[in-house]
Structures are given as C-alpha cells and as structure tokens.
C-alpha cells in the first residue's frame, strides 16, 4: 500500500497550523481556538460532546482492541462508543471483521463484552448469522416480506490492523488506516508493536471529560508538580518539589504533525536545546553520585510502580548495572541498554539495536487522534484510551494497556486475556505515578466549571499536543 507522506511536522515554540485547517470564522465563537488557547466549552458543554460523537468518533479510525484478544475463529470483542456498539470478530484464521452490533429484525444488540461463538445468534427471536455476516437462519422466513440475503446480512464496519491493534471506522469513505496513521507506522517500526501482547489491561471511570483524561498524559510539563518523587532517591517522598529541584526539572517539548502529535522528554531544561531528541540513555535520579545507581533506580521504580514500559528483564539489567564495571567510553545509561539487550537476546527476543535518530523521532508519547495515546519504546509500552461515558461530558471511561514484546518462540502462542474494570480508580491498584495523574482529573474538572475560568492557557513549547487535538477535531466538527 502506498502511503502519502505528511507535511513537515511543526516543531516546538509555536501554535500549530496546517494547510487545510478550518478557518477561525467557521467555528462558533464559544468554541473558537486562539493562539495556544482552548475555550472550556469544548470540555464542559453537553452540546459539544454530542457534536464530537456525531462528527469525530463516527469519522475517524479508533482502536477497538488488540489482535491477541481475538486468538481463535469466532472470538469477538464488543467496542462501544457513544450510543453505538460494534462487534469485532475473528472471521477466519487470517481475517478480522467488524459489524454494527444490531439485529436486522428489530435491532437487538447481538453480542456483549467478549467471548467465542460459532455464529452470531440474536438473543430475542434467534435470527442467526455466519461469522462473515451472511444470514444463516430466520425462523418462519416465509411469513416475512421477501427480502434478499444481502438485506438481512449484518452491516459491516471497516476494520483494519496495524501493529497488532485492530482499528475500526464507521465512515465508509475514510482514508485507509495506514494513511490516516502516518507518520506513526513509519516512526514506530523499530518498536515491533506487532510482536507485543497485553500484559494487563485496566479500565476505570474518571470524573472528567474524556479529553481531560488524555491531556494529563499528553505533556510532561506536569511532572515536577504532580510526580515530585520521580527524580528523587527516596521515592516515598512525595512532598512538593523544592525550588532547587525545580531548577533541575526536565523539559519535554511537543511536536505536532498534521493529525497526530507527541512530546519528547529530552533532559533538564537548563542543559538542553530544542533540537535535542529523546535519548533513552539519558535518565537518572537527582542527588545520587553513582551514575549506575542513578539509572538503575529510575528503571526499577517505573518497573515496580507502573508495571509497564519496563519489565522483568530491564529490572534485572538495572540490578546488574548497580555493581557492574561500566566499560571505558560508555556512560551508565548506554551500558544499561547494552545489558538489557544482552539479556533479551539470550532469552529469545528479537532485539535489534535502535539508532539514536530513531529514538529521537519517536519521542515519548503520541496522541493517536482522536482518543488514544501510545508510548513508543523497545520491549514494553503503554497504550491509553479514553471514551465518553454516556452523554455526560464530565465522565469518561479511561483504560490503560500494558504491552510487552514476547519471545520469538511465542509469536504464535495463544494467551488468555481478561481486562479488569473498576468504578473507582483508587481500587485499581495502579501504583503511585498513575494514581497521582488520575487524582488531577476531578480537580481539573471542578476548577474548569468555575465562572472565573474561561479556557486552557497552554505552553507553546510543552503543551501543543493538547492544542493539536482540538485543531484536528475542528476539521471534523465544522466540515460536512
């Protein structure tokens, strides 16, 4: 498939604008974006949520599930968005299909949740369909007005896959998935998402708009304020950062493309420049003199607390690093990556060395428009997904997927998968870092409702990912 190359990214330091954007006059004033400014109605108004459900979610490509959730023919996963339900089903060993989850008789939803079936059977009057959507059985069909099999067949929703993710779109005229995702498939290629599998998946209800949930993961400007322990030796110390610590805060500029955007955590603000890129060897813990310990503690804290991005092998590599003899000409971060690679290769993983410029292009976290975030990384990754919860703009379903690459020998192995769901994120055992993030959801929402607040005032360096979402959404919202 040929993929059109997107226009050049807009780098940090300016509010992005791309050819083909909707002119400001086309947007009602209360929802109109301004330079690095997003009015609050885009989060709080029920009317705006209605528009998003009608015009954005029905016309974009959405992550419905992972391919490993559909291991056998007949396995299905229901995907709900707004008031729509779509059923994604493995139709054959090589094909995944999606259908509107609605009976052709009187509309009943055909399947719920997830499971495995031989055919789709309506729970109301028992009409049946084959997995390819063709009608198999209508009781007393002679009593009905004659209708073609085509008329009685399930109505398809487009489904395409990339990197082990199954995407769907309800727009029959949408561009092909790979074109829509560009440049993500090109930039993510070294990280082998197709060879990752779900380690765990947790969903929670958050008392905030679905975009507020994502915004909290679309910038790292909040790290100093929200996660003060991240760079401390004593991770249990979550006191607010001292001014001396703020002096050493990291800087994470954003880059926006025509549709998607990302930020890159590239080091301490005082020592870095806008053209530096993300460097996986540059990490550490403040006030720890031994650089081996500094790197190792950072890796192990993420592995233990977030249970993702790192894994059992990087934890062991970090442990070995603490007392290792770091070779001449290498720093502790570089040697960490080498130990991790050696362990991974020895344990049967496909683990090519990824060149620095590819790490830099990938950055830290991407908004896959409209409602998904992916953290590109070798070996382990996170995906976050947020969806509106009914028609309440102040409530959403937020999910975290922790993904791990599997050894080459396990590529064909089927795995059991059971997502977990919690009404309250405090019951979900998500660790300190995620809990800190999710605590903000309610506070942001309460504050945004205040009559004193009119809209988000964003950093043009570090928060244009958030602005970009709204800029792209305008293209769907205010066009036919």
């Amino acid at each position: 498939m040929s993929v059109s190359i997107e226009s050049q990214p807009r780098l940090t330091g300016q509010t992005p604008w791309f050819e083909g954007d909707v002119p400001a006059e086309a947007v009602p004033e209360k929802y109109r974006l301004d330079r690095a400014y997003v009015p609050k109605g885009r989060y709080l108004d029920p009317e705006f949520l209605k528009l998003e459900l009608e015009k954005v979610f029905t016309r974009t490509w959405l992550v419905a599930c992972r391919e490993e959730e559909l291991p056998g023919v007949g396995n299905y996963v229901e995907y709900e968005i707004g008031s729509h339900s779509v059923i994604v089903v493995r139709e054959s060993r090589t094909a995944v299909s999606a259908y509107y989850n609605a009976c052709r008789h009187r509309g009943t939803r055909l399947a719920k949740g997830r499971g495995r079936v031989g055919s789709l059977i309506c729970p109301f009057h028992g009409w049946r369909w084959n997995l390819d959507g063709s009608i198999r059985l209508v009781l007393d069909r002679e009593e009905f007005v004659p209708r073609t099999d085509e008329d009685l067949g399930l109505v398809r929703v487009r489904a395409e896959t990339w990197g082990g993710f199954v995407f769907i779109t309800m727009d029959p005229n949408a561009m092909p998935l790979l074109e829509y995702l560009d440049p993500i498939p090109r930039i993510f290629e070294p990280f082998q998402y197709q060879n990752m599998r779900i380690r765990w998946q947790k969903g929670v209800i958050l008392p905030c708009n679905w975009k507020t949930a994502l915004d909290g993961f679309l910038e790292a400007y909040h790290v100093a304020g929200t996660h003060p322990q991240l760079f401390r030796f004593d991770k249990s110390n979550t006191n607010i950062a001292s001014l001396a610590e703020l002096e050493n805060r990291v800087w994470s500029p954003t880059t926006t493309y025509e549709r998607h955007a990302h930020y890159s955590s590239i080091g301490q603000k005082k020592n870095t420049s806008a053209d530096a890129g993300k460097d996986p060897t540059a990490r550490g813990t403040n006030d720890v003199v031994d650089p081996r310990l500094s790197v190792a503690l950072s890796v192990q804290y993420i592995a233990d607390d977030m249970r993702g991005l790192e894994n059992d092998r990087s934890w062991r590599a970090a442990q070995a690093l603490k007392t290792a003899e770091v070779p001449e000409g290498m720093n502790a971060g570089e040697y960490m990556l080498q130990l991790y690679r050696e362990l991974s290769v020895a344990e049967g993983y496909d683990w090519p060395e990824i060149p620095a410029e590819k790490w830099a292009d990938a950055g830290t976290a991407w908004n896959v428009f409209p409602n998904t975030i992916l953290l590109p990384n070798q070996g382990s990754s996170f995906m976050y997904r947020a969806r509106p919860n009914g028609d309440d703009p102040d409530s959403c379903v937020f999910e975290i997927f922790s993904l791990d690459q599997v050894p080459v020998a396990d590529y064909g192995r089927k795995r059991d998968h059971q997502p977990e769901f919690f009404e309250d994120f405090r019951d979900a055992d998500l660790g300190e870092v995620f809990t800190q993030d999710l605590m903000n959801a309610k506070e942001v929402t309460v504050g945004m409702h205040s009559p004193s607040f009119d809209g988000h005032r964003l950093s043009e360096d570090q928060e244009m990912t958030i602005y970009n979402h709204h800029r792209v959404a305008d293209r769907y919202l205010w066009s036919e």
Binding site: G72, V73, G74, R116, V117, G118, S119, I121, R128, L131, L137
Partner: protein, 93 residues
C-alpha cells in the same frame, strides 16, 4: 492411563451454533440438517449416525475439550478411550 479420547455429540441438544467447528474443523462438521456431527479424519466422512463416536487425534485433544466446554447446547461429550469416563462435557465432574 493414556490421555487418548473419543468424542460424540448428542444431536437432540445441538443448537447448530458451530462453535465446535471453529475450534476443530478437523473433527466437527455440519450435516445437511444444520446439526454438528463428528468425523475421524480431517478429510474423512462425517459419522452421520446420531451419537456416533470418533477417536480424537492427540494434537486436537485440547481443541475438542475447549469445544465441549464452550458448546452453547452443552451436548459434546469427550470421553477417555480407555475406560469411557467423561472428561469434558455435561457428564464430566
């Protein structure tokens, strides 16, 4: 005791769902009446007699057990070849 098993279907209870055929098309097949029947080889004739038993190749044993566990009609019986004890299906304990 060996793990070899045989399988049979109680066609009176078969719902015609076809889940068993998704699990193991080498063992299960629809008859012209829309009910599922068993067969002994992937390209063999299906055993058209109600309740007929077929030997299950070792490689398909787990698939056939999954089919019995998931069968919506709860009508697939997997029995040990040696002593006839049911290891999956409505009469397994």
């Amino acid at each position: 005791m060996s793990d070899d098993v045989r399988v049979w279907i109680d066609q009176k209870l078969c719902t015609g769902d076809g889940l068993c055929i998704q699990y193991a098309p080498e063992v299960f097949e629809f008859g012209g009446d829309g009910l599922a029947y068993v067969k002994e080889h992937a390209d063999g004739e299906r055993l058209s007699e109600a309740g007929a038993r077929a030997d299950v190749p070792e490689a398909l044993r787990l698939e056939v057990i999954d089919a019995a566990d998931g069968c919506p009609g709860n009508c697939i019986h997997v029995v040990r070849r040696e002593d006839g004890a049911e290891i999956a299906g409505p009469d397994a304990n």
